[in-house]
Symmetry: D2
Subunit: 351 residues, 4 copies
């Protein structure tokens, strides 16, 4: 396994979804920095319950417990260890899948690799581990904000429902106010209707998150191999359910010719800028001072409420029906996770 | 800079496009393995001149010179150093761009980051460095073949021209025989016509390469962060001009619901398999025994033959016209590079 | 800071001596291995209270709490997180040294590097953190034992008191039964008397630990830079108070000529062996199948009970008198720490 | 194998002693730094021929050839690749040892680990590879000098001949003028006489090098594991023939009590300093602003001119007589290697 992320800023994470706790250790965070717990709690809440007003949420929010590295809320430069206790652990729900490989889950591959696995709720492969990334990411975003850099993700597509126009037509903060993390209330209404229809039949769907890193100066990224684009791709492709990554015009630009994709340089405010930003703020793997803009595509949540056929560990073909409340899509809960991975990556490359 | 790739198998590369040479050092390659130089030469030729019969090529093929790590063609377990001399170096072509930032090239970002740059032919940012990856990749592919694993890339789309159907309808080896690396001669003819029209106006175009890793057993990949998917994304996003990555149905599956994307497990030949392969052979970041299948999208080559506006280092807006012979698209020359990065990644994770 | 140790087996540690807890995360430990907690507890006890019968000890033994990576005592292959709560935290003892730099402690250098420090009990620089190494080391030693390798450290010298003869004249296990970790009860008595005389005047002393790794096959170690000798040196020099390392005849062999130091090869039991072992089991940085034998020299504990002159953070010269119970020497409590670092290093290189 | 040294400044080396060449790649060296080739050549000469006037030397000096990373002698920030051709390669001298394991050489352990080896002149295990370290080290020393830091090694003991007094009684530069790298001409004469007597009987001897890093500010070193002391130990223990490392009073201070070893803090010139430097400039693994002072002990060169008994790969006991010119001791040729490893370590930790 490889549970450490980053080079100069290193996050090491641990924990199974139904074990005692999940947690992480951050090494390399500069000393003398004051941490704002409210921002961490806010991101944990977004991950746990989405953008719903917390009052209406039945789920209790995760609580982070810091174990080292801070004195009076100030970083010491020593490793910052923290954990989140697992509370709502109904392992019983999973008992019947103990020997069954759920389709498009990691059950079979973990069994094949490790010979045994913690079958309760996905174990280490559960999306629950992303809460740890969110804690570290919120701290990285605080540090970036002090350096003039913001990281904002939003829902740009859910199944058949797409955003109209460019993100530059909207306020990025709007993603925190809409129910599904879109920038546009109309689109959000469409998403709601669409997801309701899928929920009614027990199906699920994926989509794309777009993430914008704003305020990053030219010069961040380490060619050849630690290109900013390569490191961002690596970072977000480690999020459960991520199936693809692109930046700038990316896959949507396949039909555009060189003339159409090239970004002309201009002088603006005494600095070099580009007229357009089809490069997504990255050229030669290094930031060029424009908005860094990338997308991540997520697959549908594989836990559908319909009966599926699969096999078990002893060679029988079996029918499987996943029970319990499951989300219809990863949005908007995945957005703080995308922001966290982007923030950790950018901060690591800036240090 | 970060010029070392991999953990257990490590490739360190060096060289500017117009310096004395480019080269690399491979550390961690197992001892006692016989290297087939013909396969390396063949891949170097594909990268340098495409699939053209070498006779018709005006370009001389790169020649690799091994400096250490081999005795009688057999690996010693010690670092394998090699270099390729730079021959065809007309720096003069670039003299006029010495202080000009070519649009969508890495000129400006290198200058911003390093304060100076080798302006002759792109320097370290030139795609010429990919020849080094190809040498190491060819050696990795040899090792993988001895372990029953093949790595094959092909051109799945060029601008508006797409492949019909699935790659499973074709022979993967066909990509080495067609002019542009497609699997289908008809498609290849369309590409030829399409590129001819672009060349006539001095424009360029991008597209997608698809890569298939076949024969890989279940269990390869290191969650959480070194997921096979994350490592492949990182590997190919470091190739010049790469703008995106996806695997399985990826971006094309956004409209598919969970029911449509889930891959049902079945027993076949005493092993667990999936009926479909929308997961692209990876679940939970670990190979599941099916074909690993991923795509890379490349942008158009930014060196178009049309006049463009840009700025120079001293703050003037200037008009720029790139001269010299330039390709219209990265295909098929990028295919051995994609194969190389995939092979190095998979071998690294297998060791 | 750099709080991760190892490459394939990675231990990440955290915690200040007077914070909530100290702990660690082990990544890369093979799955399906049963952990024996008794061995961990035994090593923790040796570190906390020495070889004294626990009944007579006033100190409560540290208790390790596992948070992830195990199911029914069996490793899952996922990260193993654990922590030890800090209990006996009389920060008050340290309040008066808050702004004072204790001689030959890390107070000044931490302040110089990080700008602030946790002054309570040494913070991150406290030897308390070695308890975390001991937990991980005990697990590594269990794994090594299953692979036929034992790791044993003993006290070979304390100040003026040295061991007679070679370790091969004694049972290595004797070190766990004597009061100061020597192999020889007579030497142990001398040490006791010697330390008593130092304690009576409030002084302290150092000495050497010798560590023997037995049963390691030829072939372990990764030249050029990760030579077994280099990695062992790196490992033990990170232990607080370590001032030097040597292996084989080391510093004691300076007067010996080549003829006297060379180890002649012989065949024994169908294997290549050496007649003598002045090489300490390592040649060219790789184990040669003989006992790996190395020493670590430790300085006296700097917390002496005599008044010393020093300075404080605001520029005044002050007199300092360290209070509280402090050990007279690091022996025998440092022995399980030396074993832990050796075991982690060897297991890392064997994986 | 592990042929890359360093984290932020990374040196990757390659080459067998009797292959085409040896060389290295330096990654992470800051851009815009002017390299002085004379200093590199001077260090290469010291390594190749000792301090002898080059006229009297029969050996031709190694010549370094830069292949990338420089433009007009200025670093580009890109990887700096260089090589040294192997010239004087009389492989014939080694033919008879092809299957014989020379005592206290790495022949047997390489064979055991890799299954085959380049038997000509030691292959990768040959001390010839240290020339590559010297090139990189000379560049690091130049960078350090611009940051006010000097690195100087000298011969402090050869077999029975020791230096009188402390290094602070001498000029460190004197080591470059004496025949054997000592600081004291009288000691040097004794060494000469002593070595002559050993040479006459075909024997060899080891000794200690002492290295002083002067001008390093407080705050360099990364606890817990990358302590400055641990990193220096790791660095020098990778030098062929190194058997031990200590810093400050080290092994020589075993008899000193805490009162005798503690370094009292004082204010001097508005800075915190220590009255004495028994800590060797490192406390808690971090530099404290005093001279960094450490020793390395080297074993005798194992190629003695006397007949020895050993075994060959096929199980026979054989008599072996090493022929050819061999040095009697590693001094003074090892001194620039020690300086190089120290300089690379310190620069890496400063970046």
């Amino acid at each position: 396994m490889s549970n450490t992320f980053g080079n100069r800023l290193r996050l090491t994470t641990w924990g199974e979804s139904h074990g005692a706790a999940i947690g992480g250790v951050i090494d390399g965070f500069p000393s003398g920095f004051r941490i704002d717990n409210a921002m961490i709690d806010s991101d944990l809440r977004r991950r746990a319950t989405g953008n719903l007003p917390s009052a209406s949420s039945r789920k209790e929010t995760d609580r982070v417990e810091f174990l080292s590295g801070l004195t009076d809320g100030m970083t010491l430069g020593t490793p910052i260890a923290f954990m989140i206790r697992n509370s709502d652990c109904r392992s019983g729900d999973y008992e019947e899948f103990k020997d069954v490989f759920r389709p498009s889950h990691a059950d079979y591959t973990y069994q094949a690799k490790y010979g045994l696995r913690d079958w309760r709720g996905g174990g280490r492969a559960s999306a629950r581990e992303t809460a740890v990334r969110v804690v570290a990411g919120a701290m990285a975003r605080q540090w970036l904000m002090e350096h003039g850099v913001t990281v904002s993700a939003f829902t740009s597509r859910v199944g058949k429902v797409s955003m109209d126009g460019s993100y530059t037509d909207y306020e990025l903060d709007a993603a925190r106010l809409t129910r599904f993390g879109t920038l546009d209330r109309d689109m959000d209404d469409c998403v709601e209707e669409y997801l309701a229809s899928l929920r009614s039949v027990g199906d699920t769907v994926g989509g794309t998150a777009t993430c914008v890193v704003r305020g990053l100066k030219a010069g961040v990224g380490e060619p050849l191999y630690d290109k900013l684009s390569a490191r961002l791709a690596y970072a977000v492709m480690s999020i459960p359910a991520a199936k693809g990554f692109d930046y700038g015009v990316g896959f949507d630009g396949i039909d555009m010719t060189g003339l159409e994709q090239n970004d002309a340089f201009v002088w603006r405010d005494g600095e070099v800028h580009t007229l357009t930003n089809r490069s997504g703020g990255i050229q030669g793997g290094i930031s060029n001072g424009e908005d860094i803009c990338f997308r991540v595509v997520f697959k549908p949540i594989p836990s559908i409420a319909m009966e599926q056929s699969t096999v078990n560990a002893t060679g029988d073909e079996v029918r499987l029906q996943v029970r319990g409340r499951h989300d219809v899509t990863v949005f908007p809960r995945v957005l703080p996770v995308v922001e966290a991975m982007a923030a950790l990556t950018v901060m690591d490359l800036m240090l």
